[in-house]
């Protein structure tokens, strides 16, 4: 099972197991990562599951779709490696992924 590391804004580190074909957002919720709000439940509709993908991992995770990029307009402190966690599918290639979560998801 791939492992994902979430580093929260206060530097709390959570390394957790991620189910294949689930999303990074679902993995965060299952593991009680409070800085992922996921207001819309994973529909790419609210921009409250923002993560900053570690720069080394960013090329592997890839860039947001046009729809996701539109939703990022409603997020804050968006960086070139920022993604919505609900739009990142967990695959074997993401074993060891590191993402940072923001201090604020708009609420």
């Amino acid at each position: 099972m791939p492992k994902i590391t979430f580093i929260e804004h206060d530097n709390t580190v959570h390394t957790v197991d991620a189910e294949l074909n689930s999303t990074v957002m679902e993995t965060a919720l299952r593991n009680g990562i409070a800085s992922i709000v996921a207001e819309c439940g994973g529909g790419c509709s609210c921009a409250t599951c923002l993560v900053h993908v570690d720069e080394a991992w960013s090329p592997i995770v890839g860039q947001p779709s046009a729809e996701e990029d539109e939703m990022l307009d409603g997020a804050f402190e968006v960086k070139p490696t920022s993604r919505l966690a609900c739009q990142i599918k967990v695959t074997e290639a993401l074993d060891g992924l590191i993402v940072r979560t923001p201090s604020y998801q708009g609420r």
């Binding site: 207001e39 819309c40 509709s45 409250t48 990029d69 307009d73 997020a75 402190e77 968006v78 708009g106």
Partner: protein
């Protein structure tokens, strides 16, 4: 002068569950009014995912948020509910048995026998940007909505965002502003193409400015902004002088005034019994995503079930002297008359 409206039931929230509550109450001859902070019915279905698919409405293999809202509006039409949109319920007092007084931001007072809180994740309110020290400027020189265009006449304005709200207000305020700058994090806009074209034309004619980047710091005193620092995507920083800033980052759900009504909340949810989805206050119900009980699932279908059971109990408050006879819409002529099909 407040307007007073008398009704049997006041429903707070016009999302799918609040709308279906009108149906279940209507079958029992209970008249309902609905209040919602959004300017349209549908709640999250309308605001968050109007075009997104929903696959778990019983008997409907596939429907969009918008489609479900339209279908529910059609279903409750026979009961002529009154929708009070663009208003938020702020106050709720219990005056006696089956007697509540409820006030809204629209300066309306409802005198009602029961209240049904169907407020989902709370009320939709503008997202506030996490810029350090923004609070003292809010409602003084930082605004999340435009009430009077004239308030911005001859001012230097900064509008932030890339959606329809940001573009619409850019086009509406540009003629009155002394100078208007639109700031967005990227050079692509998700608003209506026509608005984008009009905005680009104004920029080309030198009538307004467009900047790409994000606000990183504020300058000003006593609630009056004087300038902001804009950080470009290349790391550059620019200073923009202004009199007012209008950020449009969309809406988020906040629990809001529900927290002030004396209910004991659990994790911002309202505990209810599972016989009637009533709170600790008799006659005050909570249905849909906003309630909690052992085994609760935040599904629209659970909210529909809760609405049906709530209505049975509400009947006893509205018609204390009458006995309720359970009937099916398939076979009952009296129910079919109410639905206008018999």
């Amino acid at each position: 002068m407040s307007e007073t409206i008398k009704t049997d039931v006041l429903i707070i929230g016009a999302g799918p569950v609040g709308l279906f509550a009108v149906f279940e109450l209507g079958l029992l001859d209970i008249k309902a009014h609905l209040v919602d902070i959004l300017d349209k019915a549908g709640g999250q279905c309308a605001e968050l995912y109007p075009e997104k698919p929903i696959y778990d409405i019983p008997g409907i293999p596939y429907i969009t948020g918008h489609g479900l809202t339209d279908a529910l509006m059609q279903q409750i039409k026979p009961f002529n509910p009154t929708l009070h949109l663009g208003e938020m319920v702020t106050t709720l007092e219990k005056l006696g048995d089956a007697h509540f007084r409820v006030g809204t931001t629209g300066d309306k007072i409802f005198e009602t026998k029961c209240v049904v809180i169907a407020a989902g994740g709370g009320s939709f309110q503008p997202k506030r940007p996490p810029i350090a020290g923004i609070e003292p400027y809010e409602q003084k020189s930082v605004f999340y909505a435009v009430r009077k265009i004239d308030a911005f006449r001859d001012k230097r304005l900064l509008i932030v965002g890339g959606g329809d709200s940001a573009l619409d207000w850019t086009l509406n305020l540009q003629p009155v502003a002394k100078r208007l700058t639109l700031l967005h994090r990227r050079d692509e806009f998700r608003g209506a193409p026509d608005s984008v074209n009009k905005m680009r034309a104004l920029v080309a004619e030198g009538k307004m400015d467009l900047k790409i980047g994000q606000v990183s710091a504020l300058e000003g005193a006593d609630g009056a902004l004087s300038a902001v620092t804009v950080k470009g995507n290349d790391g550059s920083a620019a200073r923009v002088e202004l009199d007012a800033m209008l950020p449009f980052f969309g809406l988020t759900m906040k629990l809001g005034p529900v927290a002030d009504w004396g209910l004991k909340l659990e994790d911002e949810l309202i505990p209810v019994d599972t016989a009637a989805f009533e709170t600790s206050v008799p006659g005050l119900f909570a249905i849909g995503d906003i309630n909690t009980y052992p085994g609760k699932l935040k599904l629209i279908l659970s909210g529909f079930h809760e609405a049906a059971l709530m209505a049975q109990k509400a009947y006893h408050y509205v018609y204390p002297e009458k006995r309720l006879v359970f009937q099916y819409t398939t076979s009952s002529t009296s129910l079919q008359k109410k639905l206008g099909v018999a």
